[in-house]
């Protein structure tokens, strides 16, 4: 059981602060490092992986520092974000050579096990140059797992994977986490983290914005109002249905809602309807059913503020 500890870690480049006074403890199990692009996730990953020294603060994996300490890789597997592997090697040669670099007693057997774990046995004798991006991602994970590490660091591991590969990878990480390994993966996609991780560390603008159980943080995120822009074949009718009453002065209030608790307000504008809802998922389901039942054609249902940045900004504001 290995824990990753960051205590008051900061990292800056000249006058630009990339990571600002972050303290976190990553325990065994799966932890998601979540944040919008440019938030500092990769910088944190690079520091944990020993490829960047903190400008200030202390960072340890187990009991040792990872900076200038290659010995730490006996217990750490790293899947970097950058899609650069030895394309001239076959998948098997790549994983076997990684096993040899780890000085494993039986590199071929360890490589076969890791390749099978990633469901890459069929493609193992092909050159990596012929792999799809998702396959390259999987062979990188196989190489990172070949020495059976206690800690696995994955920087944006689902990039380029198709839905089936994603599910397979998520199941694998879930299994590795439940075996007591410390798995840390970074992502800017909320749904990936939602599916996989019980614990998350949310980083926004270089700071730790939230930390802990995903469901609690997700509740914070989902309880905020969401705004949708909706265009349909009959916006006025749809507005009255959504609100369950008649329009008065362009805006209808929550107390007139009839069985649509997710909708808190509807505003009729020239661009269509602006609908406020407290439940993103329920609204997306309801509006399609309502439109069908009332023979209204939906032309556009657009979340107006659903960028991850806005979600995180809301979270930080809380």
């Amino acid at each position: 059981m290995t824990t990753i500890e960051l205590r008051n870690v900061s990292r800056w480049y000249g006058n630009v602060v990339a990571v600002n006074d972050v303290t976190m403890s990553i325990e065994p199990g799966v932890t998601g490092l979540l944040g919008p692009n440019g938030a500092g996730k990769s910088t944190i990953m690079h520091m944990i992986a020993g490829f960047l020294p903190p400008s200030r603060g202390e960072l340890t994996i187990g009991h040792g520092s990872s900076w200038r300490n290659p010995g730490v890789y006996r217990q750490v597997g790293l899947v970097p974000e950058r899609d650069s592997v030895y394309a001239f090697l076959t998948g098997e040669q790549f994983v076997v050579s990684t096993a040899k670099l780890h000085e494993l007693p039986d590199p071929a057997a360890a490589a076969a096990r890791a390749i099978a774990l990633l469901d890459m046995a069929e493609a193992a004798d092909r050159k990596i140059a012929t792999y799809s991006k998702g396959m390259r991602q999987r062979i990188k994970v196989a190489a990172a797992l070949v020495h059976d590490p206690e800690v696995l660091l994955l920087d944006e591991p689902f990039n380029g994977m198709d839905p089936r590969q994603r599910l397979h990878m998520m199941d694998l990480l879930d299994k590795l986490g439940s075996e007591g390994r410390t798995i840390l993966f970074s992502s800017h996609i909320l749904e990936e983290v939602e599916r996989l991780s019980g614990t998350i560390q949310v980083v926004v603008a270089g700071r730790l914005a939230a930390s802990g159980d995903f469901r609690a943080i997700r509740r914070l995120m989902t309880s905020r109002p969401h705004v949708f822009t909706v265009r349909s074949s009959d916006d006025r009718l749809l507005a009255s249905i959504l609100i369950g009453g008649t329009l008065a002065g362009g805006t209808l209030a929550r107390d007139t809602l009839a069985g649509r608790p997710a909708v808190t307000a509807v505003e009729l504008t020239r661009a269509g309807l602006q609908v406020r809802t407290s439940d993103y998922g329920a609204f997306c389901r309801d509006i399609a059913v309502l439109a069908r039942d009332h023979d209204i054609r939906l032309r556009e249902v657009l979340p107006a503020d659903e960028s991850l940045e806005s979600v995180f900004a809301y979270l930080v504001a809380d």
């Binding site: 602060v17 600002n20 992986a49 970097p80």
Partner: protein, 254 residues
């Protein structure tokens, strides 16, 4: 300090790049030039010493070493694949030493051996005899072995320098090319003080020590060449090891 897996990956990576086609180009030019000069000149001339010595040691060998020395490590740093080597318990000093040995071996094949072949083709050098007795020949074998030994030394030292440059900058080829053209080709042949810090003159000094050929225009004695060459090699490799130990991946600033 030498890791066979790193060596195997390095060799495969270096030879699989398109840049590998350039390795043999300077050697082919040198051998063709030697054949042409041999055919067009009478025996007992000074051109073998000038072409294979001055041109070979300050242009052919450094350019070949530059292409190879920056390929073995710099190319992997550029494309990011080096992280797969560095995220293992292999010591960074072993990575540097192994890549240096591979680069030196390839440079010997693509530069020192062609020097040997060209020297044998040339038929050997000549030195002025005592008084007015004209030129006295140096045997082809002696001449070739002397140049080959000097080229071996140059291969070692140049590669230590270029592997170090690869760890210091992402523009290793540009920096290396500038160094070769300005320092080794221009300054070291025209400014006498620079010879003490010129790799080509270390090689020429060693070759001259074996062939006793003043036409090689070696600016340094054998002992100075060997000592200075050893110091440059050790310092360059130590620097490379230290720089690679502090290898960083840049994260995106917030």
């Amino acid at each position: 300090m030498f890791n066979t897996t790193v060596a195997w990956i390095t060799l495969r990576a270096t030879l699989s790049r398109r840049r590998a086609l350039l390795f043999a180009l300077p050697a082919v030019i040198l051998i063709l030039l030697t054949v042409a000069l041999k055919a067009s000149h009478p025996p007992m001339q000074l051109w073998p010493s000038h072409v294979l010595g001055t041109f070979g040691f300050s242009v052919l060998i450094p350019l070949t070493a530059l292409i190879i020395g920056t390929s073995v490590l710099g190319a992997e740093i550029d494309d990011g694949s080096i992280i797969h080597l560095l995220a293992t318990p292999v010591r960074r000093s072993a990575v540097v030493m192994t890549k240096f040995v591979v680069a030196t071996g390839l440079t010997v094949v693509f530069a020192a051996v062609p020097e040997l072949i060209a020297a044998l083709i040339s038929g050997g050098g000549s030195v002025p005899g005592p008084g007015d007795t004209g030129l006295v020949p140096i045997g082809a074998a002696t001449f070739a072995v002397a140049l080959f030994t000097g080229a071996l030394a140059c291969s070692v030292i140049y590669n230590a320098v270029f592997v170090m440059v690869s760890t210091a900058t992402t523009r290793a080829i540009a920096v290396g090319l500038l160094y070769v053209l300005v320092w080794e080709v221009l300054l070291s042949n025209f400014v006498s003080g620079v010879k003490l810090l010129s790799v080509s003159h270390y090689g020429l000094g060693i070759a001259n020590g074996l062939a006793s050929d003043p036409a090689l225009e070696a600016g340094l004695g054998v002992l100075t060449s060997v000592v200075m060459g050893a110091i440059v090699t050790v310092v360059a490799l130590a620097l490379a090891m230290n720089l690679l130990s502090s290898f960083t991946l840049k994260g995106e600033p917030a």
